[in-house]
């Protein structure tokens, strides 16, 4: 079965981001596939490469990047949610004349249409609330 996930919680504030990550791993272990993981609302902070957690805590953006690299999963942060929260890729940084970009590896920044597309192409869309 093809799954997509909608992630709304803020990493380091809400457990739901961790639950979603475990769920993602369990879907793959069960032989299902992940079409897209869409980060919306405070979930977009999962794409902040500049997160510097202490050594005994998980680097949540890096965990998602690694999962995407290993299983070729599409990680999308919603552009409207991300830009106003300061999560930005190099193209948008240039457009808005910002001095730096911080979108983590294997994430892309795109519109809500990617959530609608994920819904069309997936058997299940599971929401992980904040």
């Amino acid at each position: 079965m093809q799954f997509s996930l909608l992630i709304l919680g803020s990493p380091y504030s809400s457990q739901s981001v961790g639950t979603a990550h475990r769920f993602a791993e369990a879907t793959l272990e069960s032989g299902h596939s992940l079409y897209r993981i869409f980060f919306y609302h405070d979930g977009v902070y999962c794409g902040n490469q500049l997160s510097c957690p202490p050594q005994d805590e998980p680097n949540i953006p890096a965990q998602w990047s690694a999962l995407a690299a290993q299983h070729d999963i599409d990680l999308v942060v919603c552009i409207a949610s991300a830009l106003k929260r300061g999560v930005i890729d190099s193209d948008e940084a240039e457009r808005y004349e910002q001095s730096a970009a911080n979108l983590a590896a294997n994430f892309s920044i795109s519109g809500l249409g990617q959530l609608i597309d994920a819904n069309i192409h997936s058997d299940r869309v599971i929401t992980f609330g904040p």
Binding site: M1, F3, Q15, S16, T19, R22, F23, E25, A26, T27, E29, S30, H32, R124, V125, I126, T127, F128, G129, P130
Partner: protein
């Protein structure tokens, strides 16, 4: 049949109560994160959740909170892969938070 996923303790938000208002016989209900406190037989909300079929709670969340040895009565404890199985068996899947 719908799968309802609840992630807040019953005292924290209205979501469990709202969920139970739309819950139909045959629907599934999964308690995750802080909602697992509601799985305890000694919870003030036990009457709402005990002795219903198809009510589940995530083991990892029960263990994390020090609740493993406490009585969860009729509520089935499931692991992450069984969580995935529930979302395969049910449609739609509705999250309450």
């Amino acid at each position: 049949m719908t799968l309802h996923i609840v992630n807040k303790s019953p005292d924290q938000t209205q979501c469990l109560k709202d969920c139970l208002r739309v819950f139909r016989p045959g629907d599934g209900l999964l308690l995750i994160e802080d909602a697992v406190y509601g799985a305890l037989v000694n919870s003030p909300y036990a009457a709402l959740l005990q002795n219903r079929p198809l009510v589940y709670a995530l083991i990892a969340d029960i263990e994390a909170r020090g609740l493993s040895a406490m009585d969860t009565g009729s509520i089935k404890r499931i692991n992450d892969k069984q969580f995935v199985d529930l979302t395969v068996q049910h449609s739609p899947v509705q999250s309450w938070y």
